[in-house]
């Protein structure tokens, strides 16, 4: 609401999404697991940020906490200036697996949020077709998920996340299961979409290269208990070129932070 007041308001707000000293402890049969400790993040409106870190450092938990799906054990989360106490509104989610409903066609899968929210299907049908065109799914509207490649399925799940035109997009390793070529292609498409429909994107990934390619800002996490060890602003011009020495230097810097010897 507060962000669409006028031209000067459209500038990046200091923190559209904010995590203050967030900690998360899971209590399991094996005892307690400290997943996150003292996580602080500030994400501006329309920023594209990535979270990179080793497996099990709580990256996914951060997304769930932002979405209001999981409560932090301590600390606070603010989204659009409001404290998160329940599931937040107007958000799109994309997971590592496309989680499509296999008995529904591509179009019907994309329209699922509209059905659930009981919005006018007529109104959103055109939007669905625009998204289908934008993501190169034209001609596949009536196909079923099992007739599509992994990359195509993930495109469908991105369309589904965008159909309600959310201003926040939470993506949990969305391209992690795809082959390198498809991944590269979808990276480009995602940036095009993001530049075309400004959104605040929080993108979780294992791939430092991908994070540098996509993001305005990268949060580098430590192993469990996960905490932000460094916040890196990426100010390379877009479209970014992966062979650019500056690009490579940044990737290497982050890999070093993660304790990985250079091999990208």
């Amino acid at each position: 609401m507060m962000s669409h007041l006028g031209m000067y308001e459209a500038k990046i707000l200091p923190s559209y999404i904010q995590l203050n000293n967030v900690a998360k402890i899971f209590y399991t049969k094996g005892g307690k697991v400290e997943a996150l400790r003292d996580v602080n993040m500030e994400i501006g409106e329309n920023q594209f940020v990535s979270i990179v870190g080793p497996s099990g450092c709580g990256k996914t938990t951060i997304l769930k906490i932002i979405a209001g799906l999981t409560e932090p054990t301590t600390g606070e989360v603010y989204v659009r200036g409001q404290k998160v106490v329940n599931i937040i509104q107007n958000v799109g989610m994309v997971f590592q697996s496309p989680v499509l409903l296999k008995w529904r066609t591509v179009l019907k899968n994309i329209m699922l949020p509209i059905e659930i929210k009981k919005l006018s299907e007529k109104e959103y049908l055109e939007k669905a077709h625009n998204l289908i065109e934008l993501t190169g799914l034209k001609g596949f509207e009536d196909k079923y998920p099992n007739e599509l490649s992994g990359g195509m399925q993930q495109r469908v799940s991105i369309c589904r996340a965008l159909i309600t035109d959310p201003d926040i997009l939470l993506m949990d390793e969305p391209f992690g299961a795809l082959d390198a070529l498809t991944r590269e292609q979808l990276n480009r498409e995602l940036i095009n979409i993001w530049q075309y429909k400004k959104k605040t994107v929080v993108f979780v990934t294992h791939s430092v290269n991908e994070a540098v390619y996509l993001s305005d800002k990268i949060f580098v996490m430590s192993p469990r208990p996960g905490t932000v060890i460094e916040e890196i602003n990426v100010d390379l011009p877009r479209p970014r070129i992966r062979s650019d020495p500056k690009f490579i230097a940044l990737v290497e810097k982050i890999l070093k932070l993660l304790g990985v010897a250079v091999d990208a």
């Binding site: 769930k64 979405a67 799906l69 599931i87 509104q89 958000v91 989610m93 997971f95 697996s97 989680v99 409903l101 008995w103 699922l112 949020p113 059905e115 659930i116 929210k117 309600t164």
Partner: protein, 260 residues
């Protein structure tokens, strides 16, 4: 293009089915030849030709009112199966949605399952008499377990991400059930139903074995007393046909559902 696809599909079906038809024909042919050439006593093993002639009432002076017995057994199977489907699916939903009900119901369901149904049959006769009711009851008892287990598994087997997605869109419990959980469980439910159908056939026949004066199971027991081996085989064949047709119907229904 579509015509070509349909044609190749028909060709495929013909090839696969012709193979099974040929196999059956070959078995019956060998059987027939063996019985004829080895001069096997027809009380021990009647020839397929004799069995078929009994099935079709072609034998002079020997008439079996098949329609009556078939319809009785068929009714018992279908009634037992229907009850098992409805109650089984409802029980599965209760188990999945309530931990307390799961703790109450699951041991009970497993207890019933491990009881040998044939040993329960005499009790049913005491309780509900000698009509179709005890047979329906036994068919139900045997058929409902696979339906409960498969349905419960199907309703449970759902990705956490999908549930999170539904939550993010503010889906109600009903929406989650009807848009995701239930359709997601359909393949499991269908496999439970097809096993349940096959079990219901067994249940009805078991019930008739214990005490009956009509039905295909009764005919087999009767044939045994009178050493009418051909009639026993003929009844068995009819049971097999009923079982195949009903099982096929459930599978076909499942395939039909897949399209919606």
């Amino acid at each position: 293009m579509p015509e070509k696809k349909i044609l190749s599909r028909i060709k495929y079906l013909l090839v696969t089915h012709s193979l099974s038809i040929i196999t059956f024909m070959a078995i019956f042919l060998i059987w027939e030849v063996l019985v004829q050439t080895l001069n096997i006593n027809r009380v021990v093993l009647p020839a397929p030709s004799e069995i078929v002639s009994v099935m079709l009432n072609l034998q002079k002076g020997f008439y079996v009112p098949w329609e009556k017995h078939i319809s009785v057994t068929l009714f018992e199977i279908l009634a037992g199966f229907s009850l098992a489907s409805i109650i089984g699916i409802i029980l599965a939903m209760l188990i999945v949605y309530s931990l307390i009900l799961e703790r109450i119901l699951l041991p009970l369901i497993v207890f019933i399952e491990v009881l040998p149904k044939i040993a329960v049959a005499p009790l049913f006769l005491i309780w509900v008499g000698y009509g179709m009711e005890p047979k329906i009851g036994i068919a139900f008892l045997i058929a409902f377990f696979p339906i409960v287990v498969s349905t419960a598994n199907g309703l449970r087997e759902i990705e956490q991400d999908l549930l999170d997605l539904m939550k993010v869109y503010g889906a109600t419990k009903m929406q989650v059930f009807f848009k995701v959980r239930f359709p997601n469980a359909v393949p499991h439910i269908m496999s439970g139903l097809s096993i349940g159908m096959a079990s219901a056939v067994i249940g009805a026949i078991v019930g008739e074995f214990v005490a009956a004066n009509e039905g295909l199971g009764f005919l087999i027991v009767n044939a045994q007393y009178q050493l009418l081996t051909a009639m026993a085989f003929a009844s068995l064949f009819y049971i097999a046909i009923i079982g195949l047709v009903l099982y096929g119907a459930v599978v076909a229904f499942g395939n039909l559902l897949k399209r919606f």
